[in-house]
């Protein structure tokens, strides 16, 4: 991978003034309103409540905002490639191969009538021409690296035959097998049991660090993002309201972030009631 030898300063992804809008009977409504950030080979967390535009940001980077939704950006450059000006065909070559995305719920994001092996192999075959034997061994090897003990059996299963945690590890395998440079994880654990959430996130973390990938972790969970990311963007109503290093999260200045932080329960809780977000503090209403 020649691009990984580029200078440390060259950013992996530059985003300037990204806008995503959807038509409504009242006219077009912007769900992402001018988002800008620069990402290196680091772990960026995007936090926000439902409808804050964080998921749409993830899809917009892959140019997968479906019509009638529309996206535009002043600048959207990935590893020196101008994504906005790319043909759909060239964009397709990039998807999966260089930028990949882990989806939320394996129950819905895996094809129910294709075996797990076929789905993972497809991710590889789409971008590389390999002999069947080699594809098979890469799939088995990948499944092994996401901690699936008996990959030979699992490749022949269908998604409804595996648990949620296992489904999500299969998802990770599928998205990482073509060795992308940037991984977007869109609420990768919110559909999972609390007990397997940490396993899945640790796994993503480990693989991302090993391979030196960039990670965008999209979540509504502040603590989780603070634990697994280097830098955090807090989104609200389509805009970034706070941008800080993960360890500086407690120094957050925006009232929305402060309100969110105050609403997180602590281990040694002394408050009778957790505070409710007071939205008048920033929206002026």
């Amino acid at each position: 991978m020649s691009h990984s030898h580029q200078s440390e300063q060259a950013p992996l992804l530059e985003l300037e003034n990204l806008r995503v809008s959807f038509p409504t009977p009242q006219g077009r409504v912007e769900v992402v309103k001018g988002l800008s950030f620069t990402l290196g080979r680091e772990r960026l967390g995007i936090v926000g409540e439902s409808g804050s535009g964080k998921s749409m940001t993830g899809r917009a980077i892959l140019r997968l905002v479906r019509s009638p939704g529309r996206q535009q950006a002043d600048r959207m450059v990935f590893d020196g490639i101008d994504l906005a000006g790319l043909s759909e065909r060239k964009m397709r070559d990039l998807r999966g191969a260089r930028i990949s995305m882990i989806m939320q719920d394996p129950k819905f994001s895996l094809n129910p009538v294709m075996t797990i092996g076929a789905q993972i192999a497809e991710a590889l075959k789409t971008h590389e021409t390999l002999a069947r034997r080699e594809i098979k061994s890469r799939v088995l090897e990948m499944l092994h690296s996401v901690r699936i003990n008996d990959p030979e059996r699992v490749v022949n299963l269908y998604p409804h035959e595996v648990s949620g945690g296992m489904g999500q590890r299969i998802m990770i395998a599928m998205m990482l097998i073509p060795r992308p440079d940037l991984l977007i994880a869109d609420e990768p654990t919110s559909a999972l049991d609390v007990s397997v959430q940490a396993q899945v996130l640790d796994l993503i973390d480990e693989l991302v660090r090993d391979k030196g990938m960039g990670l965008i972790l999209i979540s509504h969970d502040l603590n989780l993002v603070a634990r697994y990311c280097d830098r955090i963007l807090v989104m609200h109503a389509g805009e970034v309201v706070e941008s800080c290093a993960a360890e500086d999260l407690h120094k957050a200045t925006h009232p929305y972030t402060q309100g969110l932080l105050a609403a997180v329960p602590r281990m040694e809780e002394t408050r009778e009631e957790l505070p409710v977000l007071d939205r008048s503090a920033w929206s002026g209403t």
Binding site: M101, Y158, E161
Partner: protein
């Protein structure tokens, strides 16, 4: 790992017994459905205000003659006894005697049913072969002019009467352009040339290697079959489109796009494969509908099929013929339903 253990081992004795049990259950259920069908057709046939005796003796017979025929037909016995006799006869292949053709009903049906089968089969092939791709295409281009055009085309199939389309088709393609053969199954000078082995003229002529008959039969078949096909196409295309729209909104379609999969593959492999299962039901039902519901087309094209036969029998109060034809159509329905059940299990891993 929280997964269900699956049949990883070689098929055991228990598994074989399970399969045998499933097949046995399948046969019993099919038989029961068939007997139920016989019961319904039989009792409806007996309660409708048509006197089967009158249709035999005519309305100028004396009371003695009338009574004699009534006893000879067994109509004086209790309904249940009549039904049991009827079921016994049917299982021996005896559907009674037709009053209007003066032949055994089973023999008549063996002659007319293949004619309908041939037309409906070609019709459904046209309907599926065009309806499914059109439906998928419309869904993939939802909201564009392609979609609108296909929807209007499909709507026409819903709203245009079959007999009108049949007549217009004859006027334009037979009388006007001379591209196709006219009414009937084959040109008259070819009639009765090939030995009816299957009753399907296309197949019989191929077996006999009589290609003149084959082309003539195809010439006659193509127009009515296309018109029938158009009606099933309309239904199949609409259903395919709505199934596909539902599929294309699923999360795993986005997953496929994230992987960088080409659009045609997203549509056919990820979108279309899961809808084969519901589509089988739709196709099965439209095929059955073509087999029973082609009366209009058969009339317009003088097609000696089961629809025509049934209509004539009904108008002549020929109850044995009506019951027999209904039974055949009902059995086809049962058969197609059971067949789609089997295909379901093969195609959907979740139902195995």
């Amino acid at each position: 790992m929280g997964t269900r253990p699956l049949n990883t081992a070689a098929p055991s004795n228990a598994a074989l017994r399970k399969t045998a049990g499933a097949i046995g259950g399948f046969i019993i259920v099919t038989l029961l459905t068939f007997v139920g069908l016989m019961a319904i057709t039989f009792f409806i046939g007996r309660v409708i205000p048509i006197d089967p005796v009158l249709s035999v003796v005519g309305d100028r017979a004396t009371q003695e003659q009338y009574d004699a025929v009534r006893i000879a037909m067994g109509l004086d016995r209790p309904l249940i006894a009549q039904f049991i006799t009827y079921v016994g006869d049917v299982f021996q292949g005896d559907l009674g005697h037709s009053v209007s053709t003066n032949r055994p009903v089973a023999e008549d049906l063996a002659r007319v049913f293949p004619a309908t089968l041939e037309m409906a089969t070609l019709g459904i092939i046209i309907g599926v072969g065009m309806g499914v791709p059109l439906g998928v295409w419309a869904a993939a281009r939802q909201g564009t002019w392609v979609d609108q055009l296909i929807r209007v085309f499909a709507l026409l199939g819903y709203s245009v009467p079959a007999f009108w389309l049949g007549l217009v088709g004859l006027v334009v393609f037979y009388a006007g352009l001379g591209w196709v053969g006219g009414p009937g199954r084959v040109d008259i000078f070819y009639e009765g040339l090939v030995e009816p082995r299957t009753g399907l003229l296309l197949v019989d002529s191929l077996i006999a290697r009589d290609f003149d008959v084959f082309w003539s039969a195809l010439d006659h078949l193509i127009l009515p079959a296309t018109i029938l096909g158009f009606f099933s196409l309309a239904y199949i295309a609409r259903m395919t489109r709505s199934f596909m729209l539902d599929q294309l909104g699923q999360e795993y379609i986005t997953t496929a796009r994230v992987k960088g999969v080409a659009e045609w593959r997203v549509i056919w492999t990820h979108g279309f494969r899961p809808i084969r299962v519901p589509l089988i039901t739709v196709i099965g039902l439209s095929y059955a509908a073509l087999l029973e519901g082609s009366v209009m087309i058969e009339t317009v094209f003088s097609w000696p099929g089961i629809g025509n036969y049934l209509t004539v029998a009904l108008l002549n109060a020929d109850m044995n013929a009506v019951l027999g034809a209904t039974l055949v159509i009902g059995s086809v329905f049962i058969l197609i339903n059971k067949l789609s059940d089997v295909l379901y299990r093969i195609l959907d891993p979740r139902s195995r």
